[in-house]
């Protein structure tokens, strides 16, 4: 008996040792395999921290909880054939004409809008400028074509699929189709809207007239765009009085006392084209105007309410669109007889991603159940809308398109001369962040379908597998205008609403080899962003070498005269940050952007609360122990902190009215440059690009006007779902 026990004990010991060794080995393998799978994933998302693991897990779980279907847009069969639309400057309204209007523009009481209840806080003469140049922009319902190419309807597997038309006809899989026009709400009926070339010292007054009740082409309005057809236009990010700012904090309390101006109403926005504080160092170079209607900004912008507003600085010829003067930035100016001017070789590029209806995806979101679009009878499929723009107001994962457009055209061609160009980049997408590179490709674009991609990998539709960087960008300006010094960049990120301006020299490649006529270059997006949360791959956090989406084909043409220069010295002086700024930090105002607290309409919050347009927000408690209201005395300067409250999202946080200087990111001083991720932090900006979990200190002024303004996330799905706060300048 005793022998048996000993044998048993011996046997047990061996078995136990074996089990222990096996468990230890399994743990080692699991940890090793887990780390090799998880760590790179965390790194490429910027979540490589002890808290990032939880955020990544939450993202994955949220992805499983909130399943959302989006259509796969039909494949554009002949990309890179349509020419890039290069906008011409809009002609102003002649004085004889606007003086004959029933309600003429002017500084008097009630002259600011059709309701007769607001006056302009400052008229142009108050800042020593002449009377404004007057423009009229009508918001109209029209049709828009993203491409002239034939298309092949495909499903998420990239296979040919059935398609439909407005007459109820179903076309079998494999039928090549022509896209129907998408219904847009456009300034003067176009997308993007007209471009106004403005100049400092020459104020502009734009009469925005809402004609969205008129539908002369009897177009189907589908199920997005503000349901009351109202609109509120914001010139992003001009230094304007609240009544001309187009923000809901003002509009809900004064003026229309509503979300926006409804059909039949008009409002005059006076853009003084005058820098903050009258300080030349505050001058900017590129604005854009877009809808800001409370709760429906995203749907109105996606519906087409976007326009361009480059602004030049004629003082001492510094940046007046004439490359022979001042900074000698590329541009050849032509003054038109109607008072406008155009600048050749200076091209705005508005990037916009769209998704087209496949007719088989159910339209369903919380706005339908609120009765906003009763005619659509959602939840429902809409085969009659096949090929038209598809929109979802409240996607839990954010909204990104799978077709990339530039100036309203998908995959266009830009024919350039052999010389330098000034390219003004604007991201007017709902949520997509881009990272651009200039690439050459010997084999040219291949459809993602032909390369075997499916699902989200089909986004962008085309790839250049053999694409190689061939040129660099010279960055000369950002949101806040001309940079102090030019920055040479291999690639750059463009977040929603941000502007970046570059000189590209099309005479030679980056290795010095001259270009020749007929050479082809692709402006390529290398940031993979499968949904509206954030990137899955980018240069900063681990690029996907196979993700090279050609957005625009650039064809080199004949040599042209070029008097422009690439700046090598100081271009601009920045408004100073006081030496004692650190003494202002303790008493700062703090605003944290948070993934919301409920699964319905209130998904996005700031400091734990919804946007309340009736009052200024309250700061989180600062290190001085105070929770002040978001109010500033006119003429004051302050340090604010903007935080990303986590949840695995990135946020482009926009602050109206004045540009700011970025002081620190996560406690590291960046205002003098040196941040590889955000090299243009050294300049002025109006939008804080908040990486996951990031905290940013900014310094800015509150000058010249009093009243109500807002700050908000420019991921428009976030903005429309309460990620905004009101702030106020007091007398």
């Amino acid at each position: 008996m005793s022998d048996v026990e000993i044998e048993t004990e011996n046997h047990t010991i061996k078995r136990r040792t074996l089990l222990q060794l096996g468990a230890a080995g399994a743990a080692a393998v699991a940890i090793g395999a887990g780390a090799s799978a998880v760590v790179p994933d965390l790194k490429k998302k910027g979540l490589m921290s002890k808290d990032g693991v939880f955020e990544d897990a939450s993202i994955a779980l949220a992805g499983a909880v909130y399943t959302e279907a989006f259509p796969t847009s039909p494949l554009i069969l002949s990309p890179f054939n349509d020419l890039l639309p290069i906008p011409k400057a809009l002609a102003p309204v002649q004085s004889l004409t606007y003086k004959s209007w029933a309600q003429t523009p002017g500084p008097g009481l009630g002259q600011q809008n059709s309701l007769g209840n607001v006056r302009h806080q400052k008229w142009s003469s108050d800042v020593g400028s002449p009377d404004p140049v007057v423009y009229e922009l009508k918001m109209q319902v029209r049709g828009h074509s993203f491409t002239s190419s034939k298309v092949m309807p495909i499903n998420s597997l990239g296979k040919p699929t059935i398609s439909f038309d407005a007459n109820g006809v179903t076309y079998p899989a494999g039928t090549v189709r022509t896209l129907p026009l998408s219904t847009i709400y456009g300034f003067n009926g176009q997308f993007p809207g007209p471009m106004i070339n403005a100049e400092y010292g020459k104020p502009c007054l734009i009469r925005f007239k809402n004609e969205l009740d008129q539908n002369p082409l009897n177009l189907d309005r589908q199920d997005f765009g503000a349901p009351d057809w109202s609109a509120l236009i914001h010139l992003h990010n001009a230094h304007t009085a609240p009544e001309s700012d187009g923000n809901p904090h003002f509009s809900m309390n004064a003026g229309p006392k509503s979300h926006g101006y409804v059909p039949g109403q008009w409002v005059d926005h006076l853009y003084l084209n005058w820098p903050a504080g009258g300080d030349d160092r505050e001058k900017q170079t590129f604005f854009w105007f877009h809808d800001h209607r409370m709760d429906h900004t995203g749907s109105n912008v996606y519906k087409g309410l976007v326009g361009l507003y480059p602004i030049y600085d004629p003082k001492n010829g510094r940046d007046m669109g004439d490359e022979r003067q001042g900074l000698r930035l590329p541009g050849v100016r032509t003054n038109n007889p109607d008072g406008s001017f155009d600048v050749a070789y200076d091209i705005p590029l508005a990037f916009f991603d769209a998704r087209l209806d496949d007719g088989t995806t159910i339209h369903q979101d919380i706005h339908d159940s609120l009765g906003e679009f009763p005619d659509a009878k959602n939840p429902k499929k809409h085969p009659e809308w096949w090929g038209k723009t598809f929109y979802k107001h409240f996607p839990n994962h954010g909204f990104v398109g799978d077709i990339m457009t530039v100036n309203g055209t998908a995959y266009p061609v830009l024919n350039v001369k052999r010389r330098k160009y000034r390219l003004r980049f604007l991201d007017c997408s709902i949520a997509r962040i881009y990272e651009f590179k200039l690439m050459s490709s010997t084999q040219g674009p291949k459809s993602a379908v032909s390369l075997g991609y499916t699902g989200n990998e089909l986004q962008g539709q085309y790839r250049i597998p053999d694409g190689q960087q061939c040129m660099k960008f010279t960055e000369i300006a950002a949101d806040g205008g001309i940079l102090p010094f030019a920055i040479t960049r291999d690639s750059f990120e463009l977040w929603p609403a941000k502007r970046r301006e570059f000189i590209v020299d099309f005479t030679k490649y980056q290795d010095g080899t001259p270009t020749t006529k007929g050479d082809v270059i692709y402006l390529t997006n290398i940031m993979k962003m499968p949904d509206g949360r954030m990137w899955s791959n980018s240069s900063r956090f681990g690029s996907d070498p196979n993700y090279k989406i050609p957005m625009m084909k650039i064809v080199i043409g004949d040599t042209a005269p070029d008097d422009s220069l690439i700046p090598t010295g100081q271009m601009a002086e920045l408004p100073p940050v006081p030496a004692n700024w650190q003494s202002m930090v303790a008493d700062r105002k703090i605003f944290e952007l948070q993934r919301g607290s409920a699964g319905g309409e209130v998904e996005w919050l700031i400091n734990g609360t919804l946007f309340d347009p009736t009052k200024p927000a309250t700061s989180m408690k600062n290190p001085a122990g105070k929770s002040p209201l978001a109010q500033q005395k006119v003429g004051s300067f302050a340090v604010w902190e903007i935080r990303n409250g986590g949840g695995g999202w990135v946020h482009p946080m926009h602050l109206h009215m004045e540009e700011h200087r970025t002081l620190t990111r996560n406690g590291v001083v960046t205002m003098n440059g040196g941040n590889a991720a955000h090299p243009d932090d050294m300049s002025k900006e109006d939008l804080v690009a908040l990486d996951p979990g990031e905290s940013v200190l900014i310094y800015r002024g509150f000058r010249d006007f009093v009243g109500q303004y807002v700050a908000h996330c420019h991921n428009l799905a976030h903005e429309d779902h309460a990620m905004m706060f009101g702030w106020e300048i007091t007398a």
Binding site: A23, D51, F54, A57, L370, R595, V602, G646
Partner: protein, 224 residues
């Protein structure tokens, strides 16, 4: 007098269970860490923002707080297993015991998640109610004029948000319950394996216990 009797009774029962306390503690610790990780993940996906940050710190803190509950769950599972299948060495009995342990810690984990989710939902409802006055009426155009949409009786924005929030929690709980079952299975098996398959007190200690030697007086006292 009665307290002393209860304590003695519990201590005696624990002695009679003849557990391997190292295995119990290890299993409970792993299950607690897994459960709280899943709970925080669930909160991050569908929960209330008031409890979101900072997750790592919360993971450690809450795991320590919840640890005794999981110790009780493992002890309870072992007690149940002993009653149902006994503690004699056999692969079938060991598998049955492990299944019971996995079941107990998973149920406790699900309950912890459900409680956390319920509290999140309560916070979310409070926020929805507080923010109800910030809701803005929805208009649409009828016959050319803006008309207020909805009205009494209709499920308004707050009501819609409540439904959507609850649905998110229910679906999240369902998914995390499956995740917990899988992770607990792996963790319990691993914990027992790393202990060399030892679920119960070693034979040497059992014999000592049988002759009245108290092997775990401190733990027994602590649990009692």
């Amino acid at each position: 007098m009665s307290i002393r009797t209860s304590r003695d009774r519990v201590a005696g029962s624990l002695r009679n269970l003849q557990l391997s306390w190292t295995t119990v503690v290890l299993t409970a610790a792993l299950a607690a860490l897994a459960s709280i990780f899943v709970m925080i993940t669930l909160g991050g996906a569908v929960g209330a923002i008031e409890r979101l940050t900072p997750p790592f710190q919360r993971w450690i803190r809450d795991s320590i707080i919840i640890f005794p509950v999981f110790v009780l769950a493992v002890v309870g599972a072992m007690y149940t297993a002993k009653k149902l299948v006994g503690d004699k060495k056999s692969w079938v009995k060991m598998a049955a015991t492990l299944a019971i342990v996995i079941g107990f810690v998973t149920v406790v984990g699900i309950l912890v998640n459900a409680a956390s989710s319920g509290y999140d939902y309560y916070l979310q409802l409070k926020l929805l109610q507080v923010s109800e006055h910030l809701r803005h009426p929805t208009y649409l155009i009828q016959n050319g004029t803006p008309v207020l949409v909805g009205g009494k009786g209709a499920c308004d924005m707050t009501c819609q948000a409540q439904h959507a929030t609850l649905a998110g929690h229910m679906k999240g709980l369902g998914i995390t319950s499956i995740v917990l079952l899988i992770s607990n299975t792996a963790l319990v098996l691993w914990a027992v394996a790393i202990r060399g398959g030892r679920l119960w007190m070693p034979a040497k200690q059992r014999r000592a216990a049988a002759v009245g030697t108290q092997r775990m007086p401190v733990l027994a006292e602590a649990v009692a």
